[in-house]
Amino acid sequence: MDPLDELKLELQKIPWFRDLQIKHLDLIAGISQLRDVKAGEVLFREGDRAEYIYIVLSGRIALDMAVPPRGKMRFHTADPWEVIGWSSATPVVHQRTASATAVVDTHLAMIDSTKLRELCDQDHDLGYLVMRRLANIVASRLMSSRLQLLDMFAEPENKNAK
């Protein structure tokens, strides 16, 4: 199969891409490629230049932060259709804020973030759809982080103890 056709076919599987018009899908396909990472392989490291947004097509990617002296802390895993590296879609973030490692063999779509921003600037209809999706991702990631921050399973401090 033509690599571009294969790419489009894969992108069409992503639920939220179904909202896109064909011309928009073509535009995104034009700045995207497919990538495979083997289990244990590092997709990017904290501090790397943030050039791509990834969408997991199959497999599982883990996000870790190195916390001295506790070592690597795993705070999120992304399963199919989840987006990672979303912050590179904003004009201000240039560095990866976490490391991404494949937990199992993983198949991904990678989108050039600079070009995606340019596309969104040129076509606000597309830009709106992309940013709306990113807002959803940020909201759910934030909620998740809040719950983790609350450490809901922790034994609470008994400041009102009997």
Partner: protein, 289 residues
């Protein structure tokens, strides 16, 4: 109450509900750091023969001199001769329980409270969403589903714990999977050796597609987790009448008499611990209620 009766009738069974019966610890399973399951057998054969419970119910476990704690039953309802209590050692009573050995005796009152709507759930898909020590009160429901697997549609267990070593019953997950229960496990944080999912229980709702109108959600765990599980269920159009939550409060009597566990009009010990969410909704987000 109409006119009082001027006779002194002898104590009836409904009056013995404050007196414990005795059960012996037959076995102790260490489940996780600070959490163990105690397997209890009633010392009186007549009590044992009469004892049954529904998934989601609890017992008041009594250690003479220390007091009582409301503890959900975590064992198979099909075998009430051995009652399992999975206990986290956090309070005065449960810390004392942590020092019990096989052969020791505890007091039991129960079973008390409402239970998961196993009958009404038949024919539906079931989503069991729980976190931490919220899994034990749901394990009897899982056993019940396994015992009657053909009566239920798709069944998902969405389970989260703080870290991988805090997961309860991990050795049983495979058996549950084999029985056609899709087990999704997540932890809040892990080291890089953990191959499973990392994230919070409500996020697991993003991992599968549900037939919302035909689904029943059962949830138990920290109240904050329950809240967000409910929001995820409601966001996916699961009717509020098909979401069931199990709550926890300070309980003393277990039968809606002492007043401690009230939440709005409900005595959680008697009207709960399992509530249909729509009945709870008006009081659910009132702070410090």
């Amino acid at each position: 109450m109409a006119t009082h009766v001027h006779t002194h009738s002898p104590a009836s069974p409904s009056e013995r509900l404050l007196e414990p019966v005795w059960a012996q610890v037959m076995d102790i399973t260490n489940e996780a750091e600070g959490i163990s399951t105690y397997w209890l057998k009633f010392t009186d054969p007549a009590v044992e023969a009469a004892y049954t419970f529904e998934p989601g119910q609890f017992n008041m476990v009594y250690l003479p001199g220390y007091g009582e704690a409301a503890i959900s039953i975590s064992s198979n309802p099909a075998d009430p001769t051995l009652v399992g209590h999975t206990i986290r050692f956090v309070g005065n009573v449960t810390r004392a329980i942590s020092r019990l050995k096989v052969g020791d005796v505890v007091g039991i009152r129960g079973p008390f409270g409402s239970y998961w709507p196993m009958k009404e759930m038949e024919g539906h898909d079931v989503i069991i969403a729980c976190g931490g020590i919220g899994l034990p009160p749901l394990r009897p429901a899982i056993y019940h589903i396994m015992n009657n697997r053909d009566k239920f549609g798709k069944v998902y267990l969405l389970y989260g714990a703080r870290t991988p070593k805090d997961l309860l019953y991990p050795t049983e997950f495979e058996e549950w999977e084999r029985a056609g229960i899709q087990v999704q496990v997540t932890v809040d944080r892990a080291d890089e050796d953990w191959q499973g999912q990392v994230g919070v229980v409500p996020m697991l709702f993003y991992r599968f597609r549900m037939d919302a109108p035909n689904s029943v959600v059962l949830t138990c765990g920290p109240e904050i987790m329950i809240r967000f599980v409910v929001y995820e269920g409601l966001a996916r159009r699961v009717p509020a009448e098909q979401i069931y939550v199990s709550l926890e409060r300070n309980m003393k009597c277990g039968q809606g008499s002492c007043g401690h566990c009230q939440l709005g009009p409900y005595f959680i010990c008697k009207d709960g611990p399992v509530f249909r969410f729509d009945t709870l909704q008006p009081y659910f987000n009132v702070e410090e209620f």
